[in-house]
């Protein structure tokens, strides 16, 4: 047959030999292969008891970051919300008052910061867009729940534990 490009490889069928045409032999051969797998290593992971580790770039649930002194990094600039293709992020900005310097790093902060995990497609564009390294995607993945409201994560779910008051929780959330 003439092909369009002359670069194609034609596969033709070979007629089957007698032994290949015997049904019983084929069934036997299949059984030999499947039974030989009994003695091989199991590829399955016993999930709730054994958990596999994820790579550092894995895009799981979001975390709002704090700096070393435990202050929130986010300045409510809204760049992550603009970058988000799924429109999953909403926020409300507020001015920092005098005396709150230990809570927020910049003069402006997010009074309310919500990510709708049901809308989110875990693309990681918010992480790329953030100029302050305030939001990043962690290695944990979405849990299960009975109602939809619980998947709208507010600041209380997103913020990483304070390294000053809860260093263990902070280290755990950082993943090391």
């Amino acid at each position: 047959m003439q092909t369009l490009t002359n670069r194609a490889k034609l596969v033709e069928r070979k007629p089957l030999s007698f032994i290949e045409r015997v049904y019983l032999w084929n069934i036997l051969k299949g059984l030999i292969i499947t039974f030989s797998h009994i003695f091989k290593k199991k590829p399955t992971i016993q999930y709730p008891e054994v958990k596999r580790t994820f790579s550092p770039v894995f895009r799981g649930l979001h975390v709002l970051n704090r700096d070393e002194e435990g202050r929130e990094r986010c300045t409510a600039c809204g760049l992550c919300a603009v970058a988000c293709p799924a429109e999953a992020i909403t926020m409300e900005a507020a001015e920092r008052l005098p005396g709150e310097e230990h809570l927020y790093r910049e003069e402006k902060y997010a009074a309310r910061y919500e990510i709708n995990m049901l809308r989110c497609i875990f693309c990681g564009l918010c992480e790329e867009a953030c100029p302050k390294d305030a939001v990043y995607l962690s290695e944990t993945f979405a849990g299960a729940n009975f109602n939809r409201e619980s998947f709208v994560y507010g600041k209380e779910n997103l913020l990483i534990p304070n390294p000053k008051t809860d260093p263990e929780g902070y280290a755990k959330a950082k993943g090391n």
């Binding site: 369009l4 670069r7 490889k9 596969v11 290949e20 790579s55 770039v57 988000c84």
Partner: protein
């Protein structure tokens, strides 16, 4: 060559039941169909008279949605179309944006893209192999296929950050650099899979029971495959040379040595054989590239806000199912004016009626399995 197909003359109507025909619905929630495909089948006894696919159950109006997304964002909606070759879909979108912006991307990014494309193709074909075998009643291959596919998923997760919807392509290159383990893991996978593909052949391809179910069903001639717009392994199983990687090479495919697999069998088994051989070709491509990934940037410098010039841009790539095309009409703004996706699954599905007509109902799943349907790709 134009050929009057008998689709139009054979549509089911009210007089069907009088003629002794029976109309049954398969799907949309049927375990024998892949995803939410709804088939209205007209039967005479056990013989299929007509198959009419009904679409729309998973329509998400992605094309319309893309009109309000920027050129960075719209790429990731295509991962949700053909989720088994999401990487290749992303690749096509990135290519068309690059074409519009006339960015030259670094060599390193090209190599990374091609290697990941071929890994995706392998993973997709593996899943097809398992799912198709399960369709016709062999359960073991399904587990074997998923075992090997797991290794690819691990590689994807380590490098791209996700297992299925990779989102690794950005206009101008790839999102971040390769994981240091990447080359080692891919080589391990190639060595492992080479032994496994022989096992695939032994347990399924050479099996006479399997062959008897696949041979001689779902026949579509070369001319019909062309006139239905079939692409990918579905068309190549009928002897049509249509591999975009060969005909319109993109990235570095013109520098790689591989064969376009063509089979003249025209039946389900021919399409099966094409895919099996393609897996070997994919391995060959990866082997050629994996040791020669050049050093350098993984991403070209691009502006933060991308604006395509006024005009129309079309690019196409070869996904695991066939030719995938992205057509962008730009008015010069930050969002596209109109986007059209040409998905391979839609055209391939349209040939299902032609292939299935005259076969027994039991063969329908064998035919559907050999077309490798992914419903979100058809419906988008």
């Amino acid at each position: 060559m134009y050929r009057t197909t008998d689709i139009l003359t054979n549509t089911p109507n009210a007089s069907l039941s009088e003629a002794g025909y029976m109309v049954i619905n398969v799907g949309p929630q049927h375990p024998a169909t892949h995803g939410v495909l709804h088939l209205v089948i007209t039967l005479s006894g056990e013989t299929i008279i007509n198959v009419e696919p009904h679409l729309g159950y998973i329509h998400r109006s992605i094309e319309k949605m893309c009109e309000s997304l920027t050129y960075r964002q719209f790429i990731y909606t295509t991962s949700r179309m053909d989720y088994l070759s999401s990487h290749i879909n992303n690749h096509c979108c990135a290519l068309s944006v690059e074409k519009g912006l006339q960015i030259e991307i670094p060599d390193r990014a090209k190599y990374i893209r091609i290697i990941l494309d071929e890994l995706t193709r392998l993973a997709s074909h593996q899943l097809w192999w398992g799912a198709m075998a399960m369709d016709i009643g062999a359960i073991t291959p399904f587990f074997y296929a998923f075992r090997e596919r797991e290794m690819i998923n691990d590689i994807m997760e380590e490098t791209c950050g996700a297992r299925l919807t990779m989102n690794y392509m950005v206009p101008g290159g790839v999102m971040f650099d390769l994981h240091p383990n990447f080359q080692k893991k891919v080589k391990e996978f190639i060595a492992f899979f080479k032994s496994k593909i022989n096992e695939y052949d032994e347990i399924l391809t050479g099996n006479i029971i399997f062959q008897n179910r696949m041979k001689g069903v779902g026949i579509i001639s070369k001319e019909d495959a062309i006139s239905y717009g079939c692409t990918g392994p579905t068309a190549r199983g009928s002897g049509v040379s249509c591999d975009v990687r060969k005909l319109y090479p993109y990235e570095i495919y013109n520098r790689i040595e591989f064969d376009e697999i063509i089979n003249n069998g025209c039946d389900s088994f021919a399409r099966y054989e094409v895919r099996m051989q393609e897996m070997k070709q994919s391995l060959k491509i990866i082997e050629q590239l994996i040791d020669n990934i050049p050093e350098g940037d993984f991403q070209a410098k691009t502006k933060t806000v991308l604006k395509l010039p006024k005009g129309e841009f079309y690019t196409r790539v070869e996904t695991a199912r066939g030719e995938f095309g992205v057509y962008i009409v730009s008015e010069g703004g930050t969002t596209p004016y109109r986007i059209k996706f040409r998905s391979p699954g839609f055209s391939n599905l349209s040939a299902l009626n032609h292939m299935a007509k005259g076969n027994k109902i039991g063969d329908l799943v064998a035919i559907m399995g050999s077309i490798d349907l992914v419903i979100p790709d058809i419906d988008r």
